[in-house]
Subunit: 257 residues, 2 copies
Amino acid sequence: MTPFAALHHRPGRPLLLPNAWDHASAAALAAAGHPAIGTTSLGVAAAAGLPDGAAATRAETVRLARRLGRGGFLLSVDAESGFSDDPGEVAALAVELAQAGAVGINLEDGRADGTLAPVAVHAAKVAAVKAAVPELFVNARTDTYWCGQDDPEPETLGRLDAYRRAGADGVFVPGLAEPAAIARLVGAVGVPLNILLTPTGPGLAELAGLGVARVSLGSLLYRSALAAAVATAAAVAAGEPVGAVPGYAEVQALNER
Amino acid sequence: MTPFAALHHRPGRPLLLPNAWDHASAAALAAAGHPAIGTTSLGVAAAAGLPDGAAATRAETVRLARRLGRGGFLLSVDAESGFSDDPGEVAALAVELAQAGAVGINLEDGRADGTLAPVAVHAAKVAAVKAAVPELFVNARTDTYWCGQDDPEPETLGRLDAYRRAGADGVFVPGLAEPAAIARLVGAVGVPLNILLTPTGPGLAELAGLGVARVSLGSLLYRSALAAAVATAAAVAAGEPVGAVPGYAEVQALNER
């Protein structure tokens, strides 16, 4: 088991995976003690002025992985759908990311139009990636809870089982926040379950108690960063005090991490 | 006079120029009502994992200008020293930035080793840029107050006069925060004076009263963004509430601005 995979197998101690969008945010999170850092596809897309979840940011995703892949932390890359429905192309992306230093990848079955890719299409991507880069931790994500179904649980169970059988090392169900449903999935899926933390949903301790193996923050940190920038400018305009921030030298030093 | 230059000629109403580091931060600041947006060289460098002020980020600076130059706001680019001591190369950079849509540029005389470029070298860059792109607002920055001199004021006055004579549309003295010294410079320089706001120095209203024409925030917003990201991750880890942040859809929509 790789060191990154091992972080998913600590009962009661889920991996809290914060998501960075650039070098300094990753380095600052690592400096704050996080052993593993994810990326946020929304942050990567928004930073570039491109839409998220629309297969528009392959180049930006690889560029960011190259910036972060030797950073002294374990890097997992949010690669949307793999930016292709061709398993060979997704496997080639995974090879590029692993060569950049990534030890994990997220692959989602949601599409830009709000529909889900066929199960077999997504499972084939997972299988192709595992065949090409067996040591890469593949976190297979299903977007069933974001697709507006009345009862997404049966579809979710079916998809997660298919992705596990295709070789996924872990599975991810963003949008799921109901504790009993989370507990049922933990008991059913047979691989580590990743849940997206939301400010209105269960906190880290409750998710740990439910058996969740990984808690990721998605775009939350990027969105809080944007909010802070706008709020700080507004405070200056209003003549109000500005909160404590790291100094110039502290940020400048992050490039050496 | 260009619309951007006109924002520097409103007695008692300085231009508050917030500094963005990527597309979404610029779009969010514009959405908050700022008519003009600068960039922050520290933010651009730190985002890429490169040192600031070391002429290492020419490509990243141009790429960001291309992302922001048609964004429905007035864009001024922090171009460090122009990434060269050859006036022709700096003029070529200015042409690229103007073609990307920038209406202003910052050029600094500070060097990575903490010394100042010779006055004539920096004045030649200003002159070359104005000859190549007359409509581009050139904000000539001197780093005299960051170079550890006992009394930087005489050197500052000499440099700003040389840069004005070379064609600078405005001048910028970061590190200067003493009100009486600011007032003396305003009276002496003959072009709009830009001051860097610092949390411990005079606020916007006081700077307005001193006759400052432009107040920029430098890397403050980027640093506050990083601080917010790290603090939000720490709050989640501690089971504490997370502050209000914009939603996914709100950030996703910024790419269309």
